[in-house]
Amino acid sequence: MRVGVVTFPGTLDDRDAARAVRAGGLEAIELWHGDADLKNVDAVILPGGFSYGDYLRCGAISRFAPVMTSIIEQANKGMPLLGICNGFQVLCESHLLPGALTRNSDLHFLCKDQVISIENTNTPWTSSFSKGQEILIPLKNGEGSFQCDDATLASLEGEKRIIARYVGENPNGSRNLIAGITNTRGNVVGLMPHPEHAIDTLTGPSADGLGFFTSILNAMVK
């Protein structure tokens, strides 16, 4: 079972995502932004960071990388794809997911341990969780506020495509406390907080994040 982890110039959490993939029991494969070859991976993670410095808009420039062309093609055929933080931003810019991520409402970069509740356990990335389960994982970004128009929001809600919500005070101004969403097909997931930084209590606030990686293992074994 091979999970590709993409590195764009300016990607930061690629090694962490690969570590988490291995902790979940899968093989992590490095993918380079400039290379359209997906090396026969079964799933892909777009990790966090500041690809292209996050200049212009987060994810705006990365979206055009050669590797994205292949990823978009495979995702449209149903390949599981997870975008974390900057990766989520890339997915929105690529229109694989609706909406956009904008400046945090208090305009500061925010790094904190955040409780989120898992609302949709039908995706290949969330199946190990139980519905409504609350988990604690790091949130760290400057532009994590999920915004979209009312119609999009209504369909996200109506189709149960919100996979995770912030619990407690809204940390960044996201509409309806959205922390993560999925596409209509359910294979593409974007998540603002960082499960890859919560795979053990030595380096993270909990090991709750591991669930995303064991989910994908289950999805592939099936």
Binding site: P9, G10, L12, D13, G53, F109, P138, L202, T203, G204
Partner: protein, 743 residues
């Protein structure tokens, strides 16, 4: 528009040169002429003036800094000592760690965001230059009073700049300091520390060896950043209006630096460089002269090959430009193709600008004309050395003679009020408003960060080897007694490492002072260096490098002497570290060390406008014994938690412990006010299971560390004798200060 060449310098020896405007003294200018046997060209003048500046030549501090070498303790851990971009220490298992602090004070006052950002960028390049992967940063900061209008301008920008740059590089921020004092108005201190790790065999040095090897410049293009002074020369050479306006501030591009890091590490991994130097202060002047002096001295550079962002730059300006995110490498011709390939992969601009020769001179040409022809050592290392006059300032005796009179809380109501006042004071208050703007998780190896006593990162995922770093300075003590102040800061930083169970190994420092031309300031500086050198010798810790920042003053008023001391320690298994606090009830709390009435220079005295009396005297033998107790307590699994006492004394430390996991404590004190507020050094609170109390007793007896029982953990309040304060109330007091001030 005339180019000043070596030929012209010979032909027209009497041309007047603006050496004064460039900050050179007449005798310094005379020495340059003597070295060269002629007048310098304007490019040579540019190089000498910037390399002989206080900032680059350490001319006022050199005679004192020597002590770090002379008094250096024997240390097997030191792999690279003072003199390179950063010192390197052996931390075992084949790993080497390099760390260093640098200041970016003045630029951060002028443009807080960019000043702080480029400060982080600069120190990270220093660490990278040693061949190491940067793994974490820290940021000791000082500001004017928290409610001063200028602090409101400067602080948010500096915090955003440190975070903006460090976060974008993917470097976890694992600690720092935020301290407020009147004297830092107009002189905020932005010190930045970076730590990096490599294998022993990967250490790189700044030397240009091997005739025929290529001089390669890579990274950002060169612009007119930070060349303030030298524009004098440019305008002389070009006539007024000939050159465009030069920016007064440097702007950083963290994305370019991130790419530069990954590109450089790939280049190092393939062993493609002979020597390497980052471009920081004094830019190419510094990099070329230092690299050449590191080798046999011979180097030829074609300056017109340097890729420019601003094509109107003169050769003098190119030599001095402090544009960020650039590196200079020495590469064997057979490896240049691969070197360029890697740069292309990362989209990094790369240019061969010269080669190493078997001569003794650094020769720089501009479109074929020789404009610099100098022995490089005379530029890089043989700058002037000053033995500046120093004298104990008159204030010392006066303030030392003062007795402190501050309210000593007695009744329950007074004790509660005192505690709430202390924990909400800007210097003591929770710094999450600051640290939440820093990524502490990136790289996935952070074991400890704010608010822990020290930052700790894992450097090997299999063996769990790790390093811990703490930085400290108590400027109030340094003001009262700079010799003791430096020793006490060293002791505190070492203790902060040891509470977690890491063994202190090496020291770096950033010495922030007022004007060296003031004999009183110079005395403070000399005393601080003497104190640090003596302290390091006694504790067996080598100084591996550091930085001096002078002229931090407004008018005649200098900042408090602020020697920021960084200590690096090693821990063989980060999983077994001692955490800073407890999360369960029923543990016993003990105080290690003895409490005296040490209110001079304390936060409580500061809060009552008093800065007099005598600082405590450092007892480093005792500190070392305490460290042994802390290390043994960790390895013998005696401790459940350990937290050091410093500013704010026991009151502050116990508050930090109970708020960490919101588990309360009940303690009883004899001399309540002093016990709570005194800042006697050499003390630590530990929490142990009752079953371990006997072992703790034995351990302390073995190392002659006094021990007193404070109480037990549990409940949802902090109970001190008859005074009960709910954790919620304590937390609100502690956490609301920063949001209120800067929110």
């Amino acid at each position: 528009m005339s180019l000043d060449t070596v030929a012209q310098a010979v032909a027209r020896p009497d041309t007047a040169q603006p050496f004064k405007e460039l900050g050179l003294k007449p005798d310094e200018y005379a020495r340059i002429k003597e070295i060269l046997g002629r007048r310098p060209t304007s490019s040579e003048l540019a190089m000498y003036s910037v390399m002989w500046s206080e900032h680059c030549s350490y001319k006022s501090s050199k005679v004192h800094l020597k002590q770090f070498g002379e008094k250096a303790p024997k240390s097997d851990a030191l792999l690279v000592g003072i003199g390179e971009n950063a010192g390197v220490v052996d931390v075992g298992q084949g790993y080497a760690v390099t760390f260093k602090i640098e200041s970016h004070n003045h630029p951060s006052f002028v443009e807080p965001y960019q000043g702080a950002a480029t400060g982080v960028g600069g120190i990270v390049r220093d660490i990278l230059t040693m061949g190491a992967r940067p793994i974490a940063v820290m940021d000791p900061l000082r500001f004017g009073p928290a409610d001063a209008p200028d602090t409101r301008r400067v602080l948010p920008g500096i915090i955003a700049g440190v975070g903006g740059y460090g976060n974008c590089l993917g470097l976890p921020n694992i600690g720092g300091e935020v301290v407020f004092d009147e004297t830092y108005i107009g002189n905020p201190l932005v010190n930045a520390l970076c730590v990096g790790v490599m294998r022993h065999s990967d250490i790189k040095l700044a030397k240009a060896a091997g005739a025929g090897n290529l001089v390669v410049l890579y990274g950002a293009k060169t612009g007119g950043d930070g060349i303030g002074g030298v524009s004098v020369l440019a305008s002389e050479t070009f006539g007024d209006g000939g050159s465009t306006k030069r920016p007064s501030v440097q702007v950083g591009d963290p994305f370019v630096e991130k790419v530069l890091i990954e590109c450089s590490l790939e280049i190092f991994a393939e062993d493609l460089v002979v020597g390497i130097q980052d471009l920081g202060g004094a830019g190419l002047s510094c990099a070329t002269s230092e690299l050449a002096s590191g080798g046999s001295g011979g180097m030829k550079v074609q300056l017109d090959k340097v890729p420019l962002r601003d094509p109107s730059l003169s050769p003098e300006e190119i030599l001095m430009s402090e544009s960020q995110e650039r590196m200079c490498a020495i590469v064997e011709p057979s490896k240049i193709v691969r070197f360029i390939e890697i740069c292309k992969k990362w989209d990094v601009t790369v240019t061969v600008i010269g080669e190493v020769t078997d001569g003794k001179h650094l020769e720089i040409t501009w479109n074929g004309e020789l404009i610099v022809d100098v022995p490089p050592r005379t530029v890089a290392h043989d700058g002037p050395v000053y033995n500046r006059p120093l004298a104990q300032p008159e204030y010392i005796d006066r303030v030392n003679a003062q007795t402190i009179s501050v309210p000593m809380p007695q009744s329950s109501a007074e004790i509660k009020a005192a505690l709430l006042k202390l924990v909400s004071a800007p210097n003591m208050a929770d710094k999450s408003w600051v640290t939440a703007q820093y990524d502490k998780y990136v790289q996935g190896n952070t074991i400890q960060a704010q608010p822990d006593d020290s930052g700790m990162v894992r450097i090997d995922e299999k063996t769990n080897l790790g390093v811990a770093i703490a930085t400290d300075a108590n400027a109030n003590w340094s003001y009262l007694n700079p010799y003791q102040g430096a020793k006490l800061a060293l002791a505190e930083a070492a203790r902060n490492i040891a509470t977690a169970g890491a063994r202190p190994l090496a020291v770096t420092n950033c010495l922030n002072f007022g004007s060296p031309e003031d004999p009183g300031v110079m005395w403070q500086f000399a005393e601080s260096v003497r104190g640090l050198a003596d302290g390091c010798l006694e504790m067996g810790l080598p100084v591996t490098g550091g930085n001096v920042s002078f002229y931090n003053q407004t008018g005649d008023v200098a900042i408090l002497p602020t020697p920021v001391i960084g200590v690096l320690g090693v821990i063989d298994d980060v999983r077994t570290r001692t955490p800073m606090s407890f999360n369960k009830a029923g543990l016993e709390l003990y105080l290690l060390g003895t409490t005296h009435s040490d209110l001079a220079g304390s936060e409580w005295a500061f809060l009552h406008g008093q800065r007099g009396g005598n600082s405590p005297t450092a007892d480093l033998q005792n500190e070392m014994n305490l460290i042994e107790v802390l290390l043994a307590g960790r390895s013998e699994k005696i401790f459940t938690a350990a937290h050091d006492l410093s500013q704010g004394g026991l009151a502050m430390s116990i508050t930090e412990m109970v708020l960490r996991h919101m588990v309360g404590a009940t303690i009883s004190l004899k001399d309540t006010a002093i016990d709570l507020l005194s800042e006697t050094p050499g003390r630590v609170i530990v929490a142990v299971e009752s079953s371990q109390a006997g072992a703790l007793l034995d351990l302390c007896a073995k190392y002659k560390i006094s021990l007193s029982k404070l109480g037990t953990t549990g409940g949802d309040s902090l109970v001190i004798n008859e005074t009960t304060i709910s954790l919620q109330e304590l937390k609100t007091a502690h956490t609301s200060t920063f949001p209120k001030l800067f929110g």
